[in-house]
Chain length 285, copies 2
């Protein structure tokens, strides 16, 4: 039983996404006939029809939809394998931690200090990214990430809870709600909320923001308001105020890393982070 090949899966996903052999071939940098043949061969090998060819329209069959989904996980795993292997072979090994700027709950300096105190600690490279942080982990581009639950999809990742925080509404001093001691989510109806890169258009259609400074700036300009973890307090500008939101779900800062990760350096980092978090919640919860 001959196994599936990565190249075949790349071809198939291109066709399945374009639903058009010609465009898919162009995207793959090849011509249409070999692509058609490759897909036929794949279908013959699996003994399953993957595409319904109407003479003018290509559609996925049930099995094709399954294979598209599965292909993506295989291809992700393959590129992650390559990247992780390459990084393991580097002569200057280091950990890559991806964070949301301003989203570290104030714990990060202590975590880094605690980790550097561990025996055999590696240099830690910080990467800032707003959206798609889980993706960086899954693709092997980063070793660990700071995320906020409950937002992201954590399948395929292991996690360590660090800090649970209530959420605050951040608004300009001149905002109609600025005098309130507490607000409810209902009070925010109609207010534009930020949109992060990678988020689909739906829902709050405010401007797209890429970093915390920009976000706070836009709030000060009255272009939007935002609901943020309470540790944001330390980073507010003078012209902004924060008001507790009663009914906003508390958010938990979590450290996430790929399942089955075995690096001792990563394990030490997780240990250090957990210890810092335990101490922090113990002191000022």
């Amino acid at each position: 039983m001959e196994s599936l090949e990565v190249r075949e899966l790349v071809y198939f996903t291109a066709v399945a996404e374009e639903l058009h052999f010609g465009r898919a071939a162009a995207r793959l940098g090849m011509t249409q006939p070999p692509l058609s043949r490759a897909i036929q061969q794949l279908e013959r090998r699996l003994g399953v029809a993957l595409l319904q060819r109407g003479s003018r329209r290509v559609a996925l069959t049930e099995a094709g939809a399954v294979l598209l989904r599965e292909s993506r996980t295989v291809l992700d795993a393959a590129s992650a394998a390559a990247r992780r292997t390459q990084r393991a072979g580097r002569t200057d090994p280091h950990l890559v931690l991806v964070i949301k700027p301003g989203g570290d709950g104030g714990l990060l300096p202590a975590i880094l200090d605690a980790y550097q105190a561990e025996p055999g600690a590696l240099p830690v490279e910080l990467v800032c990214s707003f959206g798609e942080r889980e993706t960086l982990l899954r693709e092997g581009r980063a070793d660990a990430a700071l995320l906020h639950r409950p937002h992201p999809d954590l399948t395929g990742l292991d996690t360590q809870d660090l800090l649970t925080e209530t959420q605050l509404l951040v608004i300009p001093r001149s905002h109609r709600l600025a005098g309130r001691t507490r607000v409810s989510l209902n009070d925010l109806a109609g207010e534009p909320l930020p949109r992060w890169p990678g988020t689909p258009e739906g829902g709050s259609h405010g401007p797209e923001v890429h970093d915390l400074g920009q976000l706070l700036h836009l709030i000060a300009l009255r272009r939007m308001v935002a609901v943020l973890p309470s540790s944001i307090r330390n980073q507010l500008r003078d012209d902004l105020v924060a008001v507790p939101v009663d009914d906003a779900e508390p958010t938990t800062l979590v450290l996430a890393w790929p399942e089955r990760a075995t690096s001792p350096a990563l394990a030490a980092f997780v240990r250090a982070a957990a210890a810092v978090a335990a101490k922090a919640t113990g002191h000022d919860g």
Copy 2:
């Protein structure tokens, strides 16, 4: 940037596991020179040494160890993709549920009934297997499995708890502990415990058992004793008795299925199982 190929990963895992090019080539049904070349090519492509070739000994480098692990997940994902696609294309779709014979906590009939009452329920094929049930899920050979926590490795799987049970010591009537109303794990020192297929030799080196009938038979023959979930009570032979084990960790029957599974039939099955479990624990917890 040319991607990793499945064939290369198969080759590499063979070499990495055998640590011997000749044997690996034999295992792959090919000769040694092309295998050597393929590995060299892989190393060149990745820009990383994967193997240290002593003239008489081959060893994995750090990067090689990483790639071995990653390769296994890629290859698992690839074969799962093939199998799931094939099953999605079958004209008689059905769910495959893998169970441990006797390990269903008595819930299975009710779960199957409840599921069949759901709209669009598919036929359910039951597969009995003692060891390696999680593997069947990961390889796409089964849609769902009944497992017992905390034993197995659940990475890559989603789960639904069904039933938490205390554990009983099952022994012959003539056993020295048969008169006791309760025992402790300490009382079992030196008793041979069953070994399931797939379990390594270490620990309790009793005979290997493959099904529940055989296990109970061997207990009756005084070849071993076993600690089993309390729902076993209904299935005991006359010549056996069950004694509560005070300090045995309670075991939880869980329904597990592959992460990211999207089949509506599976979703309905999980719903049905959860409903039955909720009702059961409500009645006789």
